[in-house]
Structures are given as C-alpha cells and as structure tokens.
C-alpha cells in the first residue's frame, strides 16, 4: 500500500494495485461520519464496438447496453441488492456516463461489510431472459423522461452535430427501440469483457482505518477467480472535420428558446497528468472569456442576450474532448453569433490579461478547496477523470503553474471556425403555455 501526503491540504491518500489488476484508492476523512464507496469500470455508453473477451472478431452491441447492464447488476437470484445495503444502513446507487459505469454506497456504519457487498454484487452477474425483459419498461420510461427535458435534448443536439458518426451522439440509455433488442447474452458478453478487475477501480472516501480497509478488500479479491487480464480492443468510427454539421435545430413544446455552441477538439488530447494541465488551461480560458467576472458576460447579460441559465463547460474523456456553451435565449441566433464571435477572436481578446488571470485563478483555487468539503464530489471526480495518478489534490499547484501565454496559445489553436457548430431549440408555434 502506497501512501501520499498532501501537506497544504492536509490529506493522505493510500493506493494499491491488487494482483488481479484492481486499482484501490483510499482517502480517510475521519472528521466525517459517513463513508462513500465507489466501484467503477472504464466502460460506458460509447463502447459499443469491441472484440469480446476470448474472441477475435469485432462485434457491435445495441445502443444502451452499458446503462442496461448497470440497472441489471442490482437484481440477483435471491432479490434486490438495495435490500442488502438497506439492512446494513447504506444507500446505494449507480450511474453510467459516456466512458464509465460506477456503483456506489454511502453509509455511516458497517463500512467493511458494505464495501464487501459493493464488490460482491458487481462481481456476481445474474441476468435471465425474464429479468431482462422486465427492465425494458422501466428504462423506456427513463428514456422518455429525458425526451421531455429540453436541456438534455439541447446537449444531445450539439453532440449530434459535432459527432455524427462517433457513438457519443447516442443517448447514454439508448433508444426505446434499441433497448428492446437487448438480450442476456449481450449483457454477459459486455460484462465479461469490461468488468475485469484490471479495467476497474475502487475508491473509498470517509471514515475508516486504511490498513484494515485495504486488508478487507485484498482478502475479498483473493478469494475470487478471474480470467487473466487481456487488453480490451474497442473500435470507433473515423470522423473528419468535414463530417461536422454546422447547424441544426428542433422544435419542442417549450416556452423558452435555447441555443448551444460547440467546439470539437479534433486532435488527440493529452492523457495522464498532461490532461489535467490541458483541462485546467481550457477552463481558465473559458472563465476569462465567459465567466461572470468578464466584460463579455456583462455585455451579453445586460443586453438581454444571455441570462442566469447561461453555462459553459469543457469535456475531456477517453476518445473525445469538446467545449459547449449554451442557455436559454430570447433570440437564439443572436446568442450563437455572439458566442462564436468571442471564440473566434479569443486569442486577441482584451479579456486575456494578467490581472484577469489572477482573479480567475483565485476563484478556481477557492472552488477547488470548497469542493474538498464534499465526499461525494471527491469520489465522483476521482473516478470520472482520466488523469492517471494526477488528482484533485494536484489541482491547486496545476492552476498556479499556468501562464497567460499558455492560454493565448490554446485559444489560437483550439478556436477554429470549421470545428464549431450550433444547435437551437425553438418553441413550437401551437404551444399554448
């Protein structure tokens, strides 16, 4: 077990890679009552083409399998895992993203027992034709709930424009039609390929004794048998700049129109520690250009172009990275034109000054420290980000290290007209709300 202490933050992290390949990270926080366990596989909705474990040919599985699998992990031959956690005073949950599937519990007692339950239920798949069929109605309702959410539709609208071939444009849960095709065999095939311990990590944050915790985890894993670890081969369609659809729009029964502008990263993004630096640089750039401390924000807000629903983010995950900037808009075209104009002139923007950079750095350091109060936040960041051994605790020195020239260079490289796209949601005429 390796131990790393972060002096300034007064935090200690323990890590170990077990014999079966499982990466374990422990972060004791003994002032807290609760403990949070998060078991994550590096497998998400975009991984729909791959060579199954023990085979040689590429297969394509129906859209939504990763999410469907997440739902079905909770059901066992002798009942629901929620009940086991419930009896042990823990609440459990799970979520699927584009590149990850995570299972979690939080509880204030019987922590070792709960950690074992977490490991055991995720490592004992049980799928039957009957249980798979039954889940289809539930997931269909989940998909339909999102169909009515304009912000979700807006986000997938811009993804559809930027990534017309890459599976990123497909809803994480799939479609009502695609989930109807899913069989127990699909689930087992995906499970055996992607739920190998060497493709997973376990994080425990909160009240604990780290030595005792690591022993419990190690013993639990030593008693189970797994196939030897092999490299997972995934396949993604090739996309070029010419594939980007520069504009699209839909109508929905809403009162307020919405606009979103996206910029696609077309060159491979850095990985490991360099990814953390890259992401931090981009976040500083976007905050300088669009944050509430910028002149741009004030001008657009006072001009009625944007309002409090305005938001921007930079997404960087396995195989993709992009910017999206969106919100409610009185005039969606005025919104998207204004945003594109700021992006295209970003490298020479008067917002990029040393003084402004100092301000946004302070703000970002402050938010990083504030977020360390939340065990959930720490856990989710840790498992979702692909920084290798760089972590949330390296964020403050990373922020401090970035120079204005780095940000100007990033603006010049990234903000390319041909890599941009816009998507609008317009109120349907007949809407009587």
């Amino acid at each position: 077990m390796e131990k790393k202490h972060y002096d300034q933050l007064n935090e200690t992290i323990y890590t170990e890679t077990l014999e079966n390949g499982l990466r374990v990270t422990l972060l004791p926080k003994n002032d807290f009552h609760k403990t949070y366990g998060l078991f994550t596989t590096n497998y998400g909705s975009i991984d729909n083409q791959f060579i199954p474990l023990g085979k040689t040919e590429l297969v394509k599985v129906p859209d939504g399998v990763a999410h469907f699998l997440e739902h079905k992990m909770f059901e066992k031959e002798d009942g629901d895992v929620f009940n086991v956690f419930g009896k042990q005073g823990a609440s459990a949950n799970a979520f699927t993203s584009f590149t990850r599937t995570s299972y979690l519990f939080t509880s204030t007692n019987r922590i070792l027992e709960n950690v074992e339950t977490l490991l055991d239920f995720v490592q004992e798949p049980y799928f039957t034709k009957e249980t798979v069929e039954k889940e289809k109605g539930i997931i269909a309702q989940e998909i339909q709930m999102y169909d009515d959410e304009p912000d979700w539709r807006l986000f997938f609208g811009i993804l559809g424009n930027l990534y017309p071939k890459h599976p990123l444009h497909i809803d994480i849960a799939g479609t009502v039609d695609s989930i109807m095709e899913i069989t127990p065999e699909d689930l087992y095939e995906c499970y055996h390929t992607f739920y190998h311990p060497s493709n997973m990590n376990l994080l425990v944050v909160g009240k604990m004794n780290p030595a005792e915790m690591m022993t419990t985890i190690r013993d639990n894993q030593d008693h189970k048998e797994f196939a030897p670890a092999t490299e997972i081969v995934r396949h993604f369609p090739t996309e070029t700049v010419a594939d980007i659809n520069v504009f699209d729009s839909i109508e929905m029964p809403v009162n307020r129109a919405k606009s979103i502008v996206g910029v696609k990263g077309v060159h491979p993004a850095p990985t490991g520690k360099a990814a953390l630096v890259y992401k931090t640089k981009m976040n500083l750039l976007l905050t300088l250009l669009f944050g509430t401390t910028s002149e741009n924000y004030l001008r657009l807000y006072d001009g009625g172009v944007i309002d409090d629903s305005f938001s921007f983010e930079f997404n960087l995950e396995r195989t993709f990275h992009f910017i999206d900037i969106g919100g409610d808009a009185k005039e969606p075209t005025a919104f998207s034109e204004a945003i594109k104009e700021i992006l295209l002139t970003a490298k020479d923007s008067s917002e990029l000054t040393e003084a402004n950079l100092t301000t946004v750095k302070k703000r970002m350091i402050g938010s990083a420290l504030q977020s360390l109060n939340s065990i959930e936040y720490i856990a989710n960041q840790y498992s979702q980000e692909a920084y290798g051994d760089a972590s949330l605790f390296d964020l403050v020195p990373t922020i401090e290290s970035i120079k204005l020239a780095d940000i100007q260079q990033l603006a010049a490289e990234f903000m390319i007209k041909e890599h941009m796209s816009t998507f609008h949601i317009l109120p349907k005429e007949a809407n009587e709300g």
């Binding site: 419930g86 042990q88 609440s91 946004v360």
Partner: protein, 418 residues
C-alpha cells in the same frame, strides 16, 4: 454559541475544524403572504446582482473571485406559514492558502455592503438593474412550464390548497411581479430590513469573539421576534379534487397529495417518517418495488413529506395509458400499510436508512445549519442520538395508526394523450 445582537436578531457561531471553508448564512423570516412573496423573490435576484459600491455584476463577481472564489447566493423558500429569504456565502479557510489574506473579514464586510448598501438612488432601485432582473424573473417563471416535473408539482400544490398564500410558489408569480416597481420594491425592502426576524449562522474554524465583533457592526435595528406556530393546517374538506391537463409530452406525470395531519417533531412525527420509508421514500419501499420493479410502469415512483403543512405527495412518471393501473397500485399499497401488511424487516431497514440519513446530514454544512435553524423556529432541539433513539422507538402499531390518518385529497395528471 448563540447571542442576541438586538431584539429579534440572533447570531449563532458554530466553531469546527471539519471543513476547509467557513459558511455564513443570514436568514430573514416573515409570515408567508401572497402579496409579499414575489417582492422577496425579486429582491433575491436584485441583491445578488450588484450594490452601490459594486454597481455592475462584473465588479461584484470580481470582488467575490478575488476572495478566493467566495461562493455567494440568495434564495427564497417557505416552511408552513413562514417565508424565508436566505443570504449564503462560503469562504475558503485562510490557512489552506499560500497567500496571507483576511478573507473572513472581507467576506463579512461584503455581506454588509450587499444588504445595507444596495444599488439605490432617489428612493428606488437602479432602474436598469431592476428592469433587467424583472425580465429575467419573468422568463424564469415561463421556463417552469418547460420543466414538467416542477410544473406538475406546482400544479398539484395549487390544486391541493384553497388558501391563496399556500397556493403560491415560493418564488412568486408573473402576475404579482407585473405590479412591482423599482420604488415599491425598495419601500418593501426597507420594511423587510426593519421587521423580519433575523438569524445569522457562522460555521467553520472561527473565533467566536471575532465573529461577534464583525456582526455587531451590522445596523440591524430591534424588531419583534416571530413567535407562535409555523405549522399550516389546511381546513378539512371531504371532497377529492382531480385535475387532468393535456400537453405535448412523451411521458405523463401522475402526482397525488394526501393530508397527514402530522407535524415536525410533534406526536407521530417519527412514526410518519418510518411510514414514508415503508411506503415510498426509498428503493426498498412499496411504491418502488410495486410500481417500478414488479410492473415496470415507471422509472420513478416515490413519496415525500411536507411536515410543516401536514402533507404527503407521491410523484410518478408513467405512460399516459397506464394511469388507472398506477393509481390502483398506489392505492392498494397505501391500504397494505394501513392494514399492517408489511414485514418487521421493512421496518428495520427503514429505521437504518433514516438513522443513516440524519448522521450524514452532519457532514454537510448547509444541511447542518438548516436543521439548527428549523429547531430554532419550532423551539425544539434534538441531538443526533436522541433523534436516532426516537426512530428506533417507533412500533408497528404506531406506523399503522399514522397510516390510517392519511387521506388522499388531490391528484394531478399531466398527460400527453389528446
């Protein structure tokens, strides 16, 4: 430590080394009145935007950013017969920073500036700021229609209550907002500053005396501290109100409201909590198991309590055509609890979850402050141990008794079928 700074103005300092931040909360409390709710909502938007010294949003936000990203926000909520206007700020604890600063004092001074020195001239709020924030709030009201879960829940509230004050959303309405001017709002704000009951909370690694000195500077004048019950009881009526609304939605929302006649920390409160856990509050509850897991009719089907208004609501997202089936299951499941058809195991599981929840809320600074504030309002104070003991003491007979007090009073169905 709690001290009275002035009559009706209290400061509560809660020193702890647990967090890397200091949380400051100022609570303004007034009786819930339909004619003032919208004023208060509008004030929360205005005061969050700028002040006399920082007349643009950029200046105010830069000041916050330079305080190492002090997070700052205003919000309005309601509890029973009361309306709360909350000013909240999180500051980083100085000892985690490389630079020597005095963030805490600067943060408190900024709160004072925002509250006592708003962007006002000639007896009215700055016209430009007022007009823009008014327009934004009107836009926000209209966007609630676009969020079908929120829309269904507000529609159910409006249907369930006869009382105009209770019908109104805590953020007000467009109709009321149209009546408000920059002058009338400033007049209301002065009244609010003078009359609302004030509670200030400071949680973090702080020195009690320093905090007291800093807040003594706030020119809060004496006012009458609000007293009396904050619970609202809707006059009993025997009819069931049903409303159906058609919209172009993919998923229908079917929500129900029940009278429980059980109030926060009063008799049967803990029995009601356990009842709710068995009925619809958790993934092991009857609603989740029967509506979702057994019949595959919904992704979500759950119940929640409002113990300041003696009400319980059930919310589901379903296929329009299945509403009768869902309605039947919900009614059968309530009846099952009423006749005692549930296992000891379900009781124990629910108790474990409730005890876990209360302990977890101790790890969340905003939730912890909120609980202390509510205790203060109802004039009770339970330690976590006492709370857990009360949960443990609930018997099956008590759960059945409380279940039998519950009566369906309103249903709202938002359907996509025309």
């Amino acid at each position: 430590m709690s001290i009275q700074l002035n009559e009706g103005v209290h400061l509560h300092v809660l020193p702890t080394k647990k967090y890397k931040t200091v949380r400051l909360v100022i609570k303004f409390r007034a009786p819930l009145k339909a004619e003032t709710i919208t004023n208060r909502a509008m004030l929360s938007s205005l005061l969050e935007t700028n002040s006399k010294k920082y007349p643009t949003q950029t200046e105010l936000r830069s000041t916050l950013a330079n305080l190492y990203g002090a997070s700052f926000g205003l919000s309005v909520t309601k509890k029973g017969t009361e309306h709360m206007f909350t000013v909240g700020m999180n500051l980083v604890n100085e000892r985690y920073l490389s630079e020597k600063t005095n963030i805490l004092n600067d943060g408190i001074a900024l709160l004072e500036e925002i509250i006592f020195n708003p962007n006002v001239a000639n007896g009215q709020f700055d016209e430009g700021t007022f007009n823009r924030e008014k327009e934004n709030l009107l836009d926000y009201y209209s966007s609630i229609y676009d969020d079908k879960q929120a829309y269904a829940s507000l529609s159910l509230q409006s249907l369930y209550f006869e009382d105009e004050d209770q019908k109104m959303p805590s953020i007000g309405t467009a109709e009321e907002l149209e009546k408000i001017t920059a002058t009338s709002l400033f007049a209301y704000y002065q009244k609010m500053l003078q009359e609302d009951t004030i509670d200030i909370y400071v949680l973090g690694d702080v020195d009690e005396n320093d905090i007291e000195l800093a807040f003594r500077k706030f020119p809060f004048t004496p006012r009458k501290k609000a007293t009396g019950s904050v619970f609202y009881q809707e006059p009993t009526r025997n009819n069931l109100k049903n409303e159906v609304e058609k919209q172009e939605v993919t998923q229908a929302k079917y929500n129900l409201a029940y009278e429980t006649n059980t109030y926060y920390l009063e008799k049967d409160y803990f029995a009601l909590q356990v009842f709710n856990g068995i009925f619809g509050g958790f993934p092991h509850s009857k609603l989740f198991v029967n509506v979702r897991e057994k019949e595959s009719l919904a992704y979500y089907a759950s119940s929640s309590l409002d113990t300041f208004r003696g009400m319980m609501t059930v919310q589901t997202g379903i296929e329009s055509a299945k509403v009768q089936q869902v309605s039947d299951i919900i009614s059968v499941q309530l009846n099952e609890v009423q006749i005692g058809n549930f296992e000891e195991e379900a009781i124990n599981q629910t108790k474990e979850m409730l005890k876990n929840q209360i302990l977890q809320s101790e790890d969340n600074a905003p939730a912890f402050i909120e609980r202390l504030y509510i205790y203060d309002i109802v004039g009770k104070n339970l330690s976590v141990d006492e709370w857990q003991a009360q949960v443990d003491a609930v018997t099956k007979e008590e759960i059945i008794a409380v279940a039998n007090k519950i009566q369906l009073k309103a249903t709202f169905f938002l359907t996509g079928e025309v």
